[in-house]
């Protein structure tokens, strides 16, 4: 899994790939962290994140939205993302119409870094698609 920050006149876009859906979600989240700070120190404890939504794209949107929310209320920048499992229609443990994920991140205290404020995730030009050897995603963030 990997990501790249792409040029966007006023904002920042993340293009990411992953061998699995979980992998591409985590790669976009790592892109969000990289858009916030160049280098994050190694400290901070891990915490878990759970999100559910009505579609695969909405799940990605809500996951990123939740990370930005948690950043503000915990006063920590979430980094080193891991997405353990995504469940949804057509996946191994199909539970009907709902998509959900279990993830975790390490929270670096904002007091220790000079991070840029990413204001929000956007739906603008958002893509989440299956490719030959996995998944790719493109997400624009408002900064």
């Amino acid at each position: 899994m990997s990501f790249e920050l792409r040029d966007h006149t006023a904002d920042i876009a993340v293009a990411a790939t992953g061998e699995t859906l979980e992998g591409v979600f985590a790669a976009v989240a790592d892109g969000l962290a990289a858009a916030s700070v160049d280098d994050a120190p190694d400290d901070g404890a891990r915490f878990s994140v759970s999100v559910s939504a009505e579609s695969r794209e909405a799940l990605l949107f809500d996951y990123l939205d939740e990370l930005i929310y948690l950043r503000d209320v915990r006063a920590e920048l979430p980094v080193d993302h891991e997405v353990a499992a995504i469940e949804g229609p057509g996946r191994s443990d199909d539970k009907g119409d709902t998509w959900s994920l279990e993830a975790s991140a390490r929270g670096v205290p904002l007091a220790e870094i000079d991070a840029r404020e990413v204001k929000a995730v956007t739906y603008s030009e958002m893509r989440l698609e299956r490719i030959d050897d996995g998944w790719e995603a493109y997400v624009v963030f408002d900064v």
Partner: protein
């Protein structure tokens, strides 16, 4: 002879008159789109997806006359930055994405009676003290830390709350749009998540392009209006640029998601999901309008708290009371907002709004005027211009880049006809943030500004300074020249930075 045209990658614009370009209506567009620009600005506007985005905006139901891109327009998400869209408040819709994430992001200017000479030699002391006392950056806290009750009160009472709690004086209300309170606000329409994000950020600049700047007035172009605004050459003023912080950002996304879940039919008609809109009259449209108004109040309080804190910093640095320094609010403008306003529009034989040549009569219509990266610019005599400025027109504050200076305009007499009473909001970005960081290094930019222009900059992060380097912005002089020539916002004065703090 046919009108001159401009070919941008796949989109052809026709020149309707000087500085007015039109993308003709075709396909699913409900109206044409217009771009107000000189050819030089149009070249830059055509360089990213601005034209595609302003054209997409014409697909929104109830769009009246045109979707309009201001001279400083650039690519945003969904609706371009610098976009004005007037959507019918009865039969149209309201779009959170067309307001933007930072609800009531805006600028306010405060006058002083100090001159540049009073400040010289104390720039470093002042910039350090401002930086130490005005929260900025991510996680920098706010001037007040509030419980839930206080947040609700701020959301519903706006600047009145601030004045009552010692963060300002009654006179401040008289120089603010709507006297600093949107009465349609309803705090219960703002989610707990949004309130949780906002409660530690009340009175904070944030980061990115937001800043507080001490400036000197370098030119007054119109003595009569300059006099009415209390501006004269060499005078020191303060400009504050910020918005509704995490509370506004969360509110935008909360409603985008609700619209996606409840109005999928309308969403399917739109070319960009970020334009998601709630039909006028629906519960969600009403809820969003109340929530947005609450976030407007929150942003006004944010700027009010920062302004009042700035007065206290000046008191310490200059050892005089702020009243002695006549530190008074000149005006506060919003540049990410939708407002229900009454406009006169031309209607055709079927009673529906049509364009100039096709109208058989003119009627008053209630419209949700969306201004995203655009500023209201009501002309002299308009009843919604505060009494203090009714005779000369509403002040419009246009921040430029750190190197190019800023402008104060007044609402022009053509603004109601051409732009639903709007003009530009700034210089407009030219270069992406990632590119800026490759081209500039924060330390160099800071040193150059200090040595060449005597501008003292202090930021939480060097990267922010690089991303906001003067070279990343369009030519603000050209933007203002076009606004002035079109008569939508007339030049009154120009200011130049002395001290700048940012996140």
């Amino acid at each position: 002879m046919s009108n001159p045209t401009f070919d941008a990658d796949g989109i052809t614009l026709e020149q309707v008159r000087e500085y007015v370009w039109e993308v003709p209506q075709e396909g699913d567009m409900r109206t044409p789109a217009r771009v107000l620009a000189s050819e030089a600005l149009l070249e830059e506007i055509a360089d990213d997806k601005t034209l595609e985005q302003i054209t997409n905006t014409t697909h929104l139901p109830g769009i009246t006359n045109y979707a309009i891109c201001m001279p400083d327009g650039h690519q945003g998400y969904g609706f371009p930055v610098g976009g004005v869209g007037a959507l019918d408040a009865e039969n149209g819709c309201i779009s959170p994405g067309a307001v933007g994430y930072d609800i009531n992001c805006g600028v306010r200017m405060m006058r002083t009676n100090l001159t540049y000479d009073d400040l010289r030699g104390r720039e470093e002391e002042l910039v350090d003290s401002l930086f130490a006392n005005v929260p900025s950056g991510l996680g920098g806290g706010g001037i007040v830390e509030a419980g839930v009750d206080t947040v609700d009160e701020i959301l519903e009472r706006g600047v009145e709350w601030a004045v009552e709690n010692g963060h300002g004086v009654e006179e401040d209300l008289l120089h603010c749009e709507d006297e600093g309170i949107r009465t349609e606000a309803d705090a219960s329409k703002i989610s707990q998540k949004a309130k949780d994000r906002g409660k530690n950020q009340i009175g904070s600049l944030g980061s990115g392009n937001h800043f507080l700047e001490v400036q000197r007035v370098t030119d007054v172009f119109d003595d009569e209006v300059g006099d009415a605004y209390g501006l004269e050459e060499d005078q020191i003023v303060v400009l504050i640029h910020c918005g509704s912080r995490g509370l506004g950002h969360q509110t935008c996304n909360d409603y985008l998601r609700k619209i996606e879940q409840q109005h999928q039919g309308l969403l399917d008609q739109l070319p960009d999901k970020e334009l998601a809109a709630a039909p006028a009259g629906s519960q969600l449209a009403e809820d969003y309008y109340k929530a947005m108004n609450a976030a407007i109040n929150f942003a006004w309080v944010n700027r009010q708290l920062i302004m009042h804190r700035t007065r206290q910093v000046f008191e310490r640095v200059f050892d005089r009371t702020w009243e002695e320094m006549e530190m008074e609010l000149l005006y506060d403008v919003a540049h990410n907002i939708a407002k229900k306003e009454t406009h006169e529009v031309g209607v055709g034989p079927e009673g529906r709004p049509v364009r100039d040549g096709e109208a058989v009569e003119r009627e008053e219509r209630e419209l949700f005027v969306h201004r995203k990266g655009a500023t209201r610019a009501f002309p002299a005599g308009h009843p919604e211009v505060p009494d203090a400025y009714r005779d000369v027109g509403q002040p419009v504050i246009i921040p430029g880049s750190m190197g190019a200076g800023n402008y104060v305009l007044r609402g022009g007499e053509n603004s109601m006809d051409l732009t639903f009473g709007s003009t530009a909001h700034g210089a407009g970005r030219l270069m992406s943030r990632t590119q800026a960081k490759n081209e500039y290094w924060g330390g160099d930019v800071q040193q150059e500004l200090e040595e060449q222009d005597q501008i003292y900059v202090k930021a939480q992060s060097g990267a922010t300074v690089a991303e906001e380097a003067p070279g990343v912005y369009k030519d603000v002089d050209e933007v203002v020249r076009v606004s002035d020539a079109l008569g939508i916002g007339d030049k009154v004065a120009r200011t130049f930075p002395v001290c700048n703090i940012k996140g």
